[in-house]
């Protein structure tokens, strides 16, 4: 059997789109072939995990799905009658247990045993299932539908790297076929996204990621070999990585959205010209949006409400500053347990707190700081470079540069 990693090369699209033709024709005529959709999803998931070291991952995916199935089923059934906070927190803890164990293995703790639990996409599936439990607590999900749950969990286009959807939203789309005129608009959108994705992923991301970034890395490493603590080459390393990361991830997200649309599911968008943001908070509303909105709703807001409701801290500014740090630290740790992910989270939290303080300062001293096109442009440039600096930390190259020469 061949092995097909999602969206890895142009052939993949030929196979996948051909397989989706019957589904699309059905949707056009107002019918959703649920069984066929499940079979295609499973077949392409199978082709990700059908050989070599991927087989283990496939087994882990199955075990993981059963685990999450039981948790969601159990909690939703429980929630119909009761609403104890401790049960909720316990279920969430069990739901994120697999990814915590996998992250521990990544940090070298019981590596051989725990890494068996990991598979491509585990971090994204965690958002799906944990989010569902939180939605159940809030009453947005009332009933457990086994088939719909599995369709949501194993929705193939967004399996490996998002965008992160919510069960309540997904179930609404997946229960019916869209209106014909609306579906045609979705197909138009899908075509546009697909071709833009080709430009991003196969041309620009390739250029920055395979040609430019490695070149600057090697130049920086040769300074490292000469014992230098810092190198001017780290600057182009940061620029090229920033470009690579955006085009790679945005390109990937466009593919995932395009395929979702063809399947009649309007998964949420992930990027909206993030490098044009005027401040760091705006950046997070435009970069990896489905992730940051998930964190905003399920970590940040809940934390703030909890603090204010229980009156543990009275000052709203202090609460939001602490919440930024909690939020971004969790996000950093979600990527992995390394110093640079933690530092990355801390940098972004500081940036947000600083941004709030700056806005408060401007409000207090109206007219002191001018506001015009020039200052806006300066804000964009400043934000972009701050983000690049955090990405330089995030990419892990500094770890190689300093500690693995």
């Amino acid at each position: 059997m061949p092995n097909l990693q999602p969206y890895a090369d142009p052939n993949y699209f030929v196979y996948l789109l051909l397989a989706l033709v019957p589904l699309a024709v059905g949707l056009y005529f107002g019918k959703r072939f649920v069984t066929y959709e499940i079979l295609v999803s499973l077949a392409f998931i199978f082709l990700i995990f059908d050989e070599g070291h991927y087989v283990n991952q496939g087994v882990a995916l199955i075990i993981y799905s059963i685990w999450q199935f039981c948790l969601a089923w159990g909690y939703i059934t429980y929630r119909k009658k009761y609403n104890n906070g401790l049960v909720f927190y316990g279920t969430v803890a069990l739901s994120i247990l697999p990814i915590i164990l996998v992250r521990l293995s990544g940090a070298g703790i019981f590596h051989t045993q725990l890494s068996l639990l990991g598979f491509l996409g585990i971090s994204y599936l965690t958002f799906r299932s944990t989010g569902m439990i939180i939605e159940a607590r809030d009453g947005a999900v009332k009933n457990f539908h086994p088939v719909m749950f599995l369709r949501f969990m194993l929705f193939m286009p967004t399996l490996s790297s998002g965008p992160i959807d919510r069960y309540s939203r997904f179930a609404k789309d997946a229960a019916v076929a869209p209106e014909r005129s609306h579906y045609i608009d979705m197909l138009g959108n899908a075509t546009k996204k697909l071709f833009l994705g080709f430009v991003y992923k196969f041309i620009l991301s390739y250029y920055f990621g395979q040609m430019v970034y490695p070149y600057f890395q090697s130049m920086a490493m040769s300074d490292a070999h000469h014992g230098m603590i810092l190198s001017w080459w780290l600057i182009p390393v940061a620029y090229s990585y920033g470009m690579y990361l955006f085009f790679d991830f945005a390109g990937y997200s466009l593919f995932a959205l395009a395929i979702s649309y063809v399947m009649g599911i309007e998964s949420p968008i992930n990027f909206n010209k993030p490098y044009g943001s005027k401040n760091i908070k705006e950046f997070w509303n435009r970069w990896h949006m489905s992730l940051s909105f998930w964190f905003r709703d399920f970590v940040f807001m809940r934390f703030v409400f909890l603090m204010l409701k229980k009156k543990w801290i009275k000052n709203r500014n202090t609460v939001s500053t602490i919440a930024y740090f909690v939020n971004m630290l969790v996000m950093g740790l979600w990527h992995g347990l390394t110093w640079y992910y933690v530092l990355y989270g801390l940098m972004h939290a500081s940036g947000m707190a600083l941004n709030d303080a700056w806005i408060r300062f401007k409000r207090k001293h109206k007219g002191l700081v001018p506001h015009n096109k020039f200052t806006e442009g300066f804000a964009v440039v400043l934000t972009f470079h701050f983000v690049l600096l955090t990405f330089l930390v995030f990419c892990g190259f500094l770890d190689t540069f300093w500690f693995h020469r």
């Binding site: 061949p2 092995n3 097909l4 005129s181 045609i184 138009g188 075509t191």
Partner: protein, 430 residues
């Protein structure tokens, strides 16, 4: 707007785009027009693109002004100094000019596929094949396979099969490349090569899809292979040639090689080129002491890869010279590389060659201890290149001779791959 119209607005441009793409790929106008200068540069670019594609190779070997001769090899080819084969051919107006194919990582399996794109050349031209015993590690040294692989090679290969039927060598190579993920994960090539591996004849349908693939891939190759710009010929070969005396004298050139080698290797006791020593050796010098004492080149799947190349030469009756490279003895002593083992692997390679009628062999394997014969740890330079020229010049300057090769497929077998020359005489292998 009606729904039908909307659909046209969406998919019409896509159809037009594919139509235009089809025109670029299928219309019979040539895209391959290479200047003399760019062919010259390609001959010493050592680019993996050359190995992957066929456009530049075909243009070079069909060139009427310069008689480019293919030099198959790996990292040693790129050690340009005053006595490098490309420099000598340029300076002394030889009736041949080396065209270098390969760089670090291109072993025999890579070259078997590389050659599939230039079978016509191999029928008419002489060739040089540089064998590095370093390739012959236990599991083969084809970590570089992906770098040099292109689907066009496989398409050419399958179109080259005699009566569309795989021979033992084809079956063997198919079984090997099917283990590489770049090949295996492509459903189309996976299916065809599995057929070849089993020795099944290709069908007419197979052939017609292969011909279409060939059209598309060779067009793609012609479009993109011109993007690489190097200037080794301009910046390194021509200046080196300029500095040499006008008339060829082996003794004078040997003296020049000695002096340049001495000057160029002054910062270390191993006679390793200064720049190579500072960038590649110095930092790890301590770790490298004795590091190679368990290296073994006598048992390797590479012997079978090598056999597939020999079979291909025999199939095309190529008049070919084999070069067996030495290692820097001073360095080998330091790293503990076992010279007896090294010579045994050379004996095994030579037996495989001579017993099948490949008798043009430039065996330099014993000369790695000579002063300034090597440019660094395992690559010949200066006086080594000049010594090699004593074999190459007479061979390449003379007319092509009839070949008489007798291929023995047993050299593809595990028995031969695993034969240990220290326990069993290689000459007893049948």
């Amino acid at each position: 707007m009606s729904n039908k119209k909307k659909l046209w607005r969406i998919f019409g441009p896509v159809l037009v785009a594919f139509g235009l793409l089809a025109l670029v790929f299928l219309l019979p106008f040539s895209l391959t027009n290479y200047s003399q200068k760019s062919l010259q540069e390609s001959s010493v670019s050592f680019s993996n693109q050359l190995v992957k594609g066929e456009a530049v190779k075909n243009a070079a070997f069909a060139d009427k002004k310069v008689n480019y001769v293919p030099f198959f090899g790996s990292s040693e080819l790129s050690r340009i100094d005053s006595l490098h084969p490309s420099v000598l051919a340029e300076k002394y107006h030889r009736n041949y000019q080396p065209f270098m194919l390969g760089k670090a990582g291109s072993d025999s399996l890579v070259h078997f596929l590389n050659m599939q794109e230039m079978q016509g050349t191999l029928k008419t031209k002489k060739a040089v094949y540089v064998v590095s015993p370093q390739w012959f590690t236990k599991t083969g040294s084809d970590a570089g396979f992906d770098l040099f692989y292109s689907p066009l090679q496989v398409v050419d290969w399958l179109l080259n099969l005699d009566q569309n039927k795989p021979r033992a060598t084809d079956q063997f190579v198919a079984s090997q490349v099917l283990q590489r993920s770049v090949v295996k994960n492509n459903a189309y090539y996976n299916r065809l090569l599995t057929k070849v591996e089993k020795g099944e004849q290709l069908s007419e349908t197979n052939l017609s899809t292969l011909r279409l693939k060939h059209r598309i891939l060779s067009r793609q190759d012609a479009l993109f292979s011109r993007f690489e710009k190097t200037s080794n010929y301009q910046n390194r070969v021509l200046p080196a040639a300029k500095s040499l005396p006008t008339t060829y004298s082996k003794n004078v050139l040997d003296r020049i090689g000695y002096d340049e080698g001495k000057k160029g290797t002054s910062n270390n006791p191993f006679h390793i080129k200064n720049s190579f020593y500072t960038t590649r050796v110095m930092a790890e010098k301590k770790a490298l002491k004795g590091a190679q004492k368990d290296y073994d080149y006598t048992q390797s799947v590479e012997y079978a890869y090598f056999q597939s190349v020999l079979d291909n030469f025999a199939k095309n009756h190529t008049d070919v010279m084999f070069v067996i490279t030495p290692v820097n003895q001073r360095w080998a002593k330091y790293t503990g590389l076992n010279n007896t083992m090294y010579q045994q692997s050379v004996q095994k390679i030579k037996y495989q060659l001579q017993s099948q009628g490949f008798n043009n062999i430039a065996d330099l394997s014993q000369d790695g201890g000579e002063d300034y014969f090597m440019q660094d740890t395992i690559h010949v330079g200066w006086r080594g290149w000049l010594a090699l020229d004593q074999y190459l010049n007479p061979f390449l300057s003379s007319a092509k001779t009839e070949t008489n090769y007798q291929i023995n497929n047993r050299f593809l077998s595990k028995d031969w791959q695993n034969l240990k020359p220290s326990q069993q005489s290689v000459e007893s292998f049948q």
